[in-house]
Symmetry: C2
Subunit: 334 residues, 2 copies
Amino acid sequence: MQIPQPYLLFLGDVTDPLSAKTAKGVLHWRPELCTGQLRLNAETVSLGIADLSLQEAKLRGAKTLVIGTANAGGYIPQTWLQTLQEALERGFNIASGMHQRLTGFPSLVTAASIHQCKLFDVRHYDHPLRIGNGKPRPGKRLLTVGTDCSVGKMYASLALEKEMSRQGLNTHFRATGQTGILISGTGISVDAVVADFISGAAEQISAAFTDHDWDVIEGQGSLLNPSFAGVSLGLLHGSQPDALVLCHEIGRTHTRHLPHMPVPAIQATLDANYTAAKLTNSSAEFVGICLNTSAIDEEQAFTLCRQWEQEYNLPVTDPVRFGISCIVDKLHAI
Amino acid sequence: MQIPQPYLLFLGDVTDPLSAKTAKGVLHWRPELCTGQLRLNAETVSLGIADLSLQEAKLRGAKTLVIGTANAGGYIPQTWLQTLQEALERGFNIASGMHQRLTGFPSLVTAASIHQCKLFDVRHYDHPLRIGNGKPRPGKRLLTVGTDCSVGKMYASLALEKEMSRQGLNTHFRATGQTGILISGTGISVDAVVADFISGAAEQISAAFTDHDWDVIEGQGSLLNPSFAGVSLGLLHGSQPDALVLCHEIGRTHTRHLPHMPVPAIQATLDANYTAAKLTNSSAEFVGICLNTSAIDEEQAFTLCRQWEQEYNLPVTDPVRFGISCIVDKLHAI
């Protein structure tokens, strides 16, 4: 699966800036792939890039309309269908990270078929997969892991890819969730595959390679989150990472959506991932910790990073505030 | 989902005794549910019970025709369709543990609808599930875990259920795989659910209860099998077991289907499961080890069990050779 690029970012009629997180992520990490935005009315959230009609975007070379918004149910509003239909008629592919499938609308399926366009439901995965086998394969891999969901694993992965490339390491980002897939144009939502195939999906997402230096694989969930740990473990085994980076949010008091579960300790999270990673890669090692320190001020954050470096004997940084080069510096020796 | 019982065991035209494993399991653990067997010709494997026509089985009260065989691709042979069709016409439900779905045959779906019968594809699970939450829930639970797949977890679970009931503990077996589901008439194939829902499925398979003493939950895979560990971890977290029983096969040299992966050490398997189980049940403890000792003679097996009891400080038995009461004896104190 490769989503044709560049994109036109579709924002529908959403007015809550948080709902446009996906589109913002695509624009932040791949501005060169975004020809502009399409908003259904003047009240719609703006990304601060050119407002384009379907026709204008087509002239600028856009190949795929990306639904860059989220809502609570993950559904596609009826009021968007006319625009989506018109996009297909003008030859756009459509990519969506919504839970409700584009392919669940017969009218869109028919239009896509007539106009030879594709519908990409990146939150789902319907293609055949192999069972994972844990066999060592060529290529160096880094996986981000976390103390919880939504602690910055995708951000850290993309920041690592960027800094590694800057430091001369030829690096590919490998997406495992819907926003990451829209950013990279390819990948598999590992939490959406049938349970038997989690590690197999990871082996496919970052297959054997010899043509570049590193794959950076986007982590999902946490080994210590009881809702999703199975996904995290299969992803860890299938990724067989040489290098691990731990991600954590300062100030989070309990596991997301689970008030009865305290956030796990850093050392317990390092230990759990290190032990499990050894099963498929005996050389696996942690190379750094990324903190989301937005809950504290910059001076406190800087002090905390230095303290934790002493405590865990690893480079510690907030990639948003302090960059991520201190971690990448360690990768040249692996 | 509850598969109506009793059953007529369908053996098709299979001639390899190993292919009839599922039917043998159902007959071994639930002889009172098996009215007889239906074989398509004289060469078909026999379970040594009454050969019944559909009509005869119906007269004896059979409600569901159970496809009790397996083949390499998990497909339903065309040559069986006429019998399956006739079974529906006579008012039988059909249950299958095959990979290919009964509901994939439009003729069977139509006949089931006309005759108000149900098709149970127990290897699949298409109903809505909740995300697991790891909240403690009433009821005591035992989960079997293993050093690998196919080391006797289902056998140990059913042997435990039987012996626990004999010792006065009101116990329910909770099935997580196709043969177990056919035996108990209900359950979810946890390896077939979408990855995000593994622990949620386990929470549903053994929901909160106060009307009996124990649930014994059938384990799947192994935390140290890189093909399926995600399933095992989600099942462990969702089961939140009070008691764990480790299953292992003596003489296995490598992980099943993975010649490059040695079978993990017993202590490493105990440690991995114990540590992970603590996340959702701080009281989790191992209460015994079940060995499949068929590769060695009975005297050697007896000696080995005594040695391992010293080494791991747990009751150790081969449930087939020596029964499982030594483990159940420990459960009264939990």
